[in-house]
Symmetry: C2
Subunit: 131 residues, 2 copies
Amino acid sequence: MKTRRTPSQEKILDLLDTQKRSLSAQDIYVELRQGDRGMGLATVYRALEALKLEGLVQVRTLTSGESLYSSRKQDKHHLTCLQCGESIAIGECPVRDLEQRLQTKHHFKIFYHTLEFFGLCDRCLPMEENA
Amino acid sequence: MKTRRTPSQEKILDLLDTQKRSLSAQDIYVELRQGDRGMGLATVYRALEALKLEGLVQVRTLTSGESLYSSRKQDKHHLTCLQCGESIAIGECPVRDLEQRLQTKHHFKIFYHTLEFFGLCDRCLPMEENA
DNA sequence: GTTATTGCAAACAATTTGCACCCAC
DNA sequence: GTGGGTGCAAATTGTTTGCAATAAC
């Protein structure tokens, strides 16, 4: 198990830990670029990639193709509107024991999971019906 | 509720229905481009977008940013390796009743959901430990 | 004829990569 | 001094958009 982390990786982990919400790579870049020892965008991506492989951050890829990163502590799931893109967080999570079983059954080290529901929110639903 | 579909949309729906696996937009394009009345890539994207909003296809966005489309009948979930990208389909799905409850609670018309587990597969796990 | 649909190519945006520089050890 | 880590800019890739040509009704 690799334990060494680069300074950039540490900075990113710290940032993610202090944030409630998930951040995109670009968000992180904007946040960390300033300062005398600013961070480059490529470094952000490289660090996130490494952290991902260690299971220290979790990634949620939006349908836009953009990825959102968060420190692994959170376990939030979402209800996402296919029309306006609004994303509502939900608290419930009915899969923890399934995760445990899958891990054993498939010899697969599971770091985290994503659960997303897609459809139309109450604002977009009426619009669809008139279309 | 819109019911009219363009010829392109119909062709794509037909194709997705005959396929067991999910297809990327590019896959669909390759499949439908030939023939005297070939389909353009932009049309594929536009048709998929429309079908998505009607809840007729479901979309799974890979961590690569590429999206896979399938006809809405399938309800497969996956175990995906963060290192090699291998994706194992799993049969179980413990969220159907939660989906029902959320739909009511949030006034949200849910078309489908995605459930993905991420980690390291048994082949990549040993490599990580040596790193 | 009018309107919606399509194909093509150019535009976009997020991400990745090549390479030279630099800091830590 | 050596090697990994980094910044910059160029390259890549999936997707979207502008627009003129075409099909549908």
